[in-house]
């Protein structure tokens, strides 16, 4: 059971060419989940999973979405696909506002946007052969002829580097990496334009992860795909993304191209996130900027800037009042790099180094008290 490696020469897609057309556009997206409580099970609050997020994804682009658990990145991915209706805001795909579509039109639209899941074990039905797993979507989209479906399933299997005769097998006969390929084939079978990859490589070992990342990049080139790539692993995000959105507690902290973000982040949270990644090169020994405490609860987010309770820059600037009272909007810092920080101009490598050299590495369990 060897997987076929598609051996194509490395090739970069120039970002300039991609800026022609906006494929996905989210405007002011909000998704709240109600918290029920009390004897009468009435609503006692909201988990503000996504709280006002706007961004555009260009055709052919890979937009990376990064953040810690609970920051709302998965909810955002699902809301963009309209698997969950947003509480407020709108999503346009290919110029069509999804909230204005009738249910039949929405179903036709779904063919163009697909999802790849994280867990290659939980996301495949163990009682279904591969032909049904991949073919189910085709049937739902109206491909009635079983011969045509089978042909499509086999073509798709081949495209993801599996053998055409795997159609009769069941998920348990495959390794984790092969299962993830089946998950990708399922999304690909419908000839989508836009795919949300929700932590698509997070559950895989490094050597398998690289196979799947290469495959996803090959498929993008071959089928002209656009990805929203959600991951918590920053080095994966850096490697695949053209542009990146950094999320913190339901809001976008920074949106920038991969180069801009990794060379000169303009939000204190992005700086800390980059500083936290361990570097596999032992020659790189940096003084790490360690954030204090944990991510606050999205049911009761801090006032003003949501990051102010853990912000090293605010501390350095003598805790300005503004951070705790005014929610900073995303501002263009030049070259399309957007940062949601009142003091984004003060964010620099030098400032981060100074903050890092003053902190104790042991006393970081909780955020500074106000």
């Amino acid at each position: 059971m060897t997987e076929i490696q598609t051996a194509t020469a490395p090739e970069t897609t120039p970002v300039e060419l991609l800026q022609a057309e906006t494929l996905v556009s989210a405007k002011g997206l909000v998704k709240y989940f109600p918290i029920m409580g009390g004897i009468l099970r009435h609503k006692v609050g909201d988990v503000k999973a996504v709280d006002g997020v706007s961004f555009d994804i260009q055709k052919g682009e890979i937009f990376g979405l990064v953040g810690e658990s609970g920051c709302g990145k998965t909810t955002l991915g699902r809301t963009v696909l309209y698997l969950q209706r947003p509480t407020a805001g709108s999503v346009e795909v290919g110029g069509k506002d999804l909230s204005k579509l009738k249910s039949t039109e929405l179903r036709h639209m779904r063919r163009r946007m697909q999802l790849i899941f994280q867990d290659p074990y939980g996301s495949l039905n163990p009682r279904m052969p591969v032909s049904d797993i991949i073919g189910e979507g085709l049937l739902a989209q109206g491909m009635k002829s079983s011969a045509a479906r089978m042909k499509k399933v086999e073509d798709t299997l081949e495209a993801v580097g599996l053998r055409r005769d795997y159609t009769r097998r069941y998920p348990h006969e495959f390794s984790g990496g092969q299962r993830q390929r089946i998950g990708i084939a399922r999304a690909l079978a419908l000839d989508p334009e836009f795919i949300v990859c929700d932590e698509a490589v997070s559950a895989l070992d490094v050597s398998i992860q690289s196979q799947i990342l290469n495959l996803l990049l090959d498929l993008r080139r071959e089928f002209d795909l656009t990805y929203l790539f959600i991951a918590h692993n920053l080095s994966v995000i850096e490697y695949v993304s053209d542009r990146i959105g950094v999320m913190y507690l339901g809001k976008m902290a920074e949106v920038a191209t991969a180069d801009q973000l990794f060379k000169g982040p303009r939000h204190p949270y992005s700086v800390a996130l980059l500083s936290a990644i361990p570097d596999p090169d032992p020659r790189v020994r940096k003084k790490r900027l360690v954030l204090r405490g944990d991510v606050p609860s999205p049911a009761n987010p801090p006032s003003g800037c949501r990051f102010h309770t853990r912000c090293w820059l605010r501390e350095k600037l003598g805790n300005p009042e503004q951070c705790a009272t005014v929610d900073p909007p995303l501002r263009d810092m030049g070259g399309g790099q957007m940062s949601a920080c009142h003091f984004a101009e003060q964010v620099s490598d030098q400032a981060a180094q100074e903050a890092a050299s003053r902190q104790s590495v042991v006393e970081t369990a909780v955020a500074a008290a106000d």
Binding site: G177, Q178, V206, A272, P278, D279, L291, V362
Partner: protein, 370 residues
């Protein structure tokens, strides 16, 4: 058909064991020829199949490998926490602090475990008991190993919570695990592991379940505590970057065997074994954007059908005829470096395979990373 075995007095392993001479006193942990197999319904899984390594007092060693390579089973065997049956310690010796611990009766092992040798697990939520306060759980560990009053044990618990950077430790000691955040729970686990001044700390994927900013906190804390207490650290992880930042020496495992050892710096900059090379070049952060990731083809071997020769041979881009038939033992290649690969044996020392002259290629192993 049940046989009653008095575990306190009979140690089936001890009776048929020929134990070698003890290691020099500066060696805290000496694992020799360790084999731990699991007998399951489909056959026998050689999870650990001939592992040798040493850990000096106060030294830090990283045991690295992908899932299923036997790194966790190695640590569980050292703690003697492997369930027997289905597990079986087929052969080998483990010397800890001047004693051969595989021959010890369980009652003596219990005295060592948690006091001289302690463990930090991956999942702090499942390793802490939800119905006792964290202070209680640490105090219980102290009472089990030290002649102290209940009050003294409680004071020690509070002292340890303070040492790992938990603010207002008296109040936190009275809280239950569910009242603490993930990062805080991992701090409690570390406090508990250090409460009896261990000589050896085994940390099994201590940060895998944590977010990257919390991972940074915990790694810095483990490093600081290791330096402060002078305990030796055996860090088990799949993450090469965590190893690069945390330990002095490392050992790479593949399919139940150690394939390469050396200082972390040497191994990561100049890997000798083709598996280590493949692993390092498949990490996205080592590869520039747009360039293809290196791929280790195929998947790990089926444990019921291990390859006859080198276990990495089916996936190895450099394999030649000798590799197919003979399993290479670890060989010292440089001072303090070992690799288990025929490429690092002079041609005259390679066994001659039936189908070839055994010459094969000669080692060419420098990988330029950036």
């Amino acid at each position: 058909m049940t046989t009653v075995v008095d575990l306190e007095h009979v140690s089936p392993v001890a009776e048929r064991r020929h134990v070698g001479p003890p290691p020099p006193p500066d060696v805290l942990l000496d694992v020799r020829g360790l084999k731990t197999y699991f007998h399951v319904m489909d056959g026998t899984v050689p999870a650990v199949d001939g592992v040798d390594f040493q850990l000096k007092r106060g030294e830090t060693l990283g045991l690295v490998g992908e899932s299923g390579c036997g790194k966790s089973v190695t640590s569980l065997t050292i703690m003697r926490l492997v369930d027997i049956p289905p597990g079986e310690i087929v052969s080998g010796e483990i010397w800890f602090d001047g004693r051969e611990i595989l021959s010890l009766p369980m009652s003596e092992m219990r005295q060592i475990r948690g006091s001289d040798m302690s463990m930090i697990f991956q999942e702090p939520m499942t390793s802490l008991n939800p119905v006792f306060t964290v202070g209680n759980q640490i105090a219980e560990a102290v009472k089990a190993h030290r002649q102290v009053s209940a009050r003294g044990a409680w004071d020690r618990a509070v002292e340890m919570l303070e040492a790992v950077g938990i603010p207002s430790p008296e109040r936190r000691a009275n809280q239950y695990p569910h009242e603490l955040s993930g990062g805080m729970r991992q701090r409690v686990m570390i406090a508990m592991a250090l409460s009896c001044d261990p000589k050896l700390i085994i940390a099994d994927e201590p940060t895998t379940a944590l977010d990257v900013t919390i991972q940074a906190q915990i790694l810095e804390l483990i490093k600081a505590m290791q330096e402060r207490t002078g305990a030796a650290l055996l860090l088990i992880t799949h993450d090469l970057a965590v190893v690069a930042e945390t330990v002095q020496r490392m050992a790479v495992m593949y399919a139940g065997k150690i394939v390469e050892t050396g200082t972390a710096e040497e191994v990561l900059i100049n890997p000798k074994h083709p598996y280590t090379q493949g692993l390092i070049t498949s990490i996205p952060s080592n590869v520039p954007r747009g360039q293809r990731l290196n791929v280790i083809k195929g998947t790990v071997p089926n444990p019921f059908r291990m390859p006859k020769g080198c276990r990495f041979e089916p996936r190895c881009p450099l394999a030649f005829d000798t590799c197919r038939e003979f399993d290479p033992p670890l060989r010292i290649t440089d001072p303090d470096r070992e690799a288990a690969c025929w490429l690092h044996y002079p041609i005259s020392e390679r066994p001659v395979s039936r189908n070839g002259d055994g010459s094969g290629p000669v080692a060419k192993v420098r990988v330029d990373k950036r």
